[in-house]
Amino acid sequence: MCLSLYVIVKFRRRRGDNTIPVQVEGNHKLEIVWTVIPIILLIILGVPTVQSVFGLSKDYSKDPDAVQVIVTSHQYWWEFEYPQFGIKTAQEMVIPTNAKIAIETKSGDVKHSFWIPALAGKIDSNAGANVNTMYFEAPKPGVYLGKCAELCGPSHALMDFKVKAVDEASFDRWIAALKEPVELPADPAVREAFVSKCLSCHAVGDQGGMIYPNLTGIGSRETVGGILVNTDDAKYANEGTVYENLKRWIEDPDKIKPGNGMGKVALTEQELDGIAKYLSELKLDY
């Protein structure tokens, strides 16, 4: 770039200058120079590229020391299955720090792409084609933002998830807690509504269906639906307390994530309130 700037300034045509410059045809030496230099640069770039391509393609999916996670993508939510522990959760992936996390990606519908920008590159979850593997590690505890990186429909933009890296002891506690049975809402009316209208799809503890997001421990997650951030100190439009967020979500999911698979569920004000309250208290201790 500097070179072109120099050329532009140096060789601009001055007023009244009518000379005809020398008509150079070319210069073999120069041309060879600028063929060889890029080639050298590319070799410098190419060798580590190939090395890391093979490095990153290592498959830990059979390694018992790694934490295996089967990631299944859906329009527009993520399911995380831990086959070693026989558990399933949604939207929030809890992992131990300093362990290899071996990912297998599948898709429940269209193609999505699994991406945690701060931790690793992305890998597609193909629809009805090859199952991909990937591995990564989180050296430091913390909450990392994950995203869907492949256009998958109207709410592709909102298909976020969280990765929560905790120390190994907490991770073990989390697994144990997730397996504990869960109490249903105490209020019979709310319970009745919850069981008939929600558990037809969702699960809490060992009750309900498993093909939609597992709600066990929803009250202690970082987000609702992956995008409504739970915080007591809301600054942005997409933030609120767990209770507020849950209520907002259950009231009209389509307003929050256009085209998602839940759709509006008909609930009375009491039921809505009761369920939101109940879910917001559904916490896991770990």
Binding site: M1, S4, L5, V7, F11, R12, R13, I20, P21, Q23, V24, E25, G26, N27, E31, W34, T35, P38, L42, L45, G46, T49, V50, S52, V53, F54, L56, S57, Q75, D109, V110, K111, S113, W115, G121, K122, I123, D124, A127, G128, A129, N130, N132, L145, A149, E150, L151, C152, P154, S155, H156, A157, D160, I227, K235, Y236, A237, N238, P258, G259
Partner: protein
């Protein structure tokens, strides 16, 4: 309808650029702040799909075709293209394909699965309405036009060169168009098959891409990119050609390293077919494929670099004039280099795991497309405008266009690199607050509006210029080197009253240097045979248009009727001999004869 149309059809093509640009502006308005509600999620996906599709297929390529049509016959000293009929057919099919695509806005939803239309999202299960049908059929029809154009230019360049114009004396623009046409010829049929398969899936329940019945979604990605990657070189090579011409003329120097330029162009075209899977690094093709395609992709930097350095050394020691055309060409060089270097970054597969489908990619391809191709087109338009229309564009407005467009461009897209690195995925209709994306997106939006202003300035320039008398000189830049500057502006219908004799590279420049006034004719003045205009191409395209609608809405009678119209035209064309007409020597205005 053949030669005359060559120039007037221009405006139709420009409209698509405006529509695509308008869609871009709407995209940018939606993204100017987090959680914006300017357009809905569905609408955004439609805008984004139509923006990409319109810009690539209906704006960029046809604009290039318009330039090729106007300039290639002139540069090689031909009366016309090899197949005037096909030329006209190609234009009309392209136009009706584009129209069909855009009709979708009014029939309940434009295509919304991205310009790449990955399955299964683009299949009937997840895109049940007719949006993607419009994409499939519109592109299929427009694609025919492009393919015909490619064949036409190749045949023209091989068969119709003036005496003495050997391949190694052809102007650089002609060379790049030649290679581009070859790429079209070998890339577009792949798209044809892909679109046909998707169409069969959508309209007739075939199973190519339907996993439930054994179909394979990755197959679509392969087919699309086998076409798609050569397509991007189809776009950029003619721009390289334009830059070569403009840089030489305004540096008053011969192109540095002509033969290496030719060679580099061929190499780019050839390698362009070997790298498609670099769009699929994250699809999971395995390390061997990723490594090979990484390396193959990086190799393209070498011939491209040769070109860049040759341009710089053409200017070196030259006597550079800063007209608008020349500014665009000079602006092109560093901008394109940036886009190219980010391309090489993307080519490293492990790094691409991070960059892929993020705004970094958006930044990359707008740097090469807008900063490369569109700037190249602007340069070409300013440069050849007098030759096409006989009027010089206003230089002051031209410079305003350049400055606003150039600054706007860098504002829009430079910051997108950082957005990508910060983790902003592409194709998102909105983003959450508090992620650090806000400020950069705002800058980007302002830049887009600046680009819009630049474009409007250019439109104003056209309008103002159109009101002025046709008084451009034959060689208005005074340093024209190639044959097109040897005849009057605008070029007469028959281009050359007498086919010129080419005595060397830069044919006109050589005559000038030898102290001649113009080209020496290669033939005596005689009557000129011209093809008759024909309405058939228009009717054929209408037939295809009707057929497209018929099949889309499962009305097979209408579909068949459309096809019958088309085949009937083909029969008529075959049976009826076109004897054309002659222009006799005494009818040639003195203007065109420069012997």
């Amino acid at each position: 309808m053949t030669i005359k149309n060559r120039h007037s059809v221009f405006d139709c093509r420009r409209i698509f650029f405006l529509i695509g640009g308008l869609e871009a502006i709407l995209i940018r308005i939606q993204l100017w702040k987090p959680l914006n509600n300017f357009v809905s999620a569905d609408m955004f996906n439609e805008l984004l799909t139509m923006h990409g599709t319109t810009m690539i297929f209906l704006a960029a390529m046809p604009l290039l075709f318009a330039l090729m049509n106007a300039i290639i016959p002139l540069q090689i000293g031909a009366r016309d293209v090899a197949f005037p009929f096909l030329n006209s057919l190609g234009f009309w099919t392209f136009l009706f394909g584009g129209l069909l695509l855009n009709v979708s806005w009014f029939t309940g939803g434009a295509p919304d699965a991205g310009w790449t239309s990955y399955v299964p999202l683009a299949g009937t299960t997840y895109s049940g309405d007719h949006g993607v049908d419009y994409y499939v059929i519109g592109l299929q029809i427009a694609g025919i036009g492009t393919l015909l154009g490619g064949i036409n230019f190749m045949a023209t360049i091989i068969n119709m060169r003036a005496p003495g114009m050997s391949f190694m004396r052809m102007p650089m623009f002609t060379w790049t168009v030649f290679i581009t046409s070859a790429l079209i010829l070998f890339a577009f049929p792949a798209l044809t098959v892909g679109l046909a398969a998707l169409m069969f899936d959508r309209l007739f329940d075939a199973n190519f891409f339907n996993p439930a019945n054994g179909g394979n979604t990755i197959l679509w990605e392969h087919i699309f990119w086998i076409f798609g990657h050569p397509e991007v070189y189809i776009l950029i090579l003619p721009a390289f050609g334009i830059i070569s011409e403009v840089v030489c003329t305004f540096s008053r120097k011969r192109l540095f390293g002509y033969s290496s330029m030719v060679f580099a162009t061929m190499l780019i075209g050839f390698l362009g077919f070997m790298v498609w899977a670099h769009h699929m690094f994250t699809t999971g093709l395995g390390p061997v494929a990723n490594a090979l395609f990484s390396i193959a992709t990086m190799l393209i930097a070498v011939p491209t670099g040769i070109k860049i350095f040759n341009w710089i050394f053409t200017m070196w020691g030259g006597s550079i004039r800063f007209t608008t055309a020349s500014l665009f060409a000079i602006g092109f060089i560093p901008t394109f280099v940036m886009g190219g270097v980010t391309g090489v970054m993307l080519a490293a597969a492990p790094a691409d795991f991070q960059y892929h489908d993020s705004y970094f990619v958006v930044a990359h391809f707008h740097y090469v497309i807008v900063g490369g191709l569109i700037m190249g087109i602007f340069a070409g338009l300013h440069y050849w405008w007098p030759k096409m229309f006989g009027r010089m564009l206003n230089e002051t407005i031209g410079k305003i266009t350049f400055v606003t467009f150039f600054i706007g461009f860098h504002m829009t897209f430079f910051v997108q690199h950082f957005l990508g690195l910060l983790g902003m995925p592409r194709r998102i209709w909105t983003y959450l607050d508090g992620l650090g994306f806000n400020g950069l997106n705002l800058i980007s939006t302002i830049g887009a509006i600046l680009m819009g202003i630049g474009t409007v300035a250019f439109l104003i320039n056209i309008v103002i210029t159109a009101a002025k008398p046709r008084n451009a000189a034959d060689d208005p830049w005074e340093d024209g080197r190639t044959l097109e500057w040897a005849i009057s502006s605008p070029a007469p219908e028959y281009n050359f009253a007498q086919t010129p004799l080419v005595r060397g590279y830069d044919a006109l420049w050589k005559e000038k240097m030898d102290g001649n006034k113009g080209m020496t004719p290669a033939e005596p003045l005689g009557s000129i045979h011209m093809p008759s205009p024909s309405i058939l191409p228009f009717i054929m395209s209408v037939g295809l248009f009707i057929a497209g609608f018929g099949f889309m809405y499962h009305n097979y009678y209408i579909g068949a009727a459309g096809l019958i119209i088309m085949f009937a035209c083909m029969v008529i064309r075959s049976v009826k001999d076109d004897h054309g007409f002659h222009i006799e020597p005494d009818e040639l205005q003195g203007k065109g004869v420069k012997a």
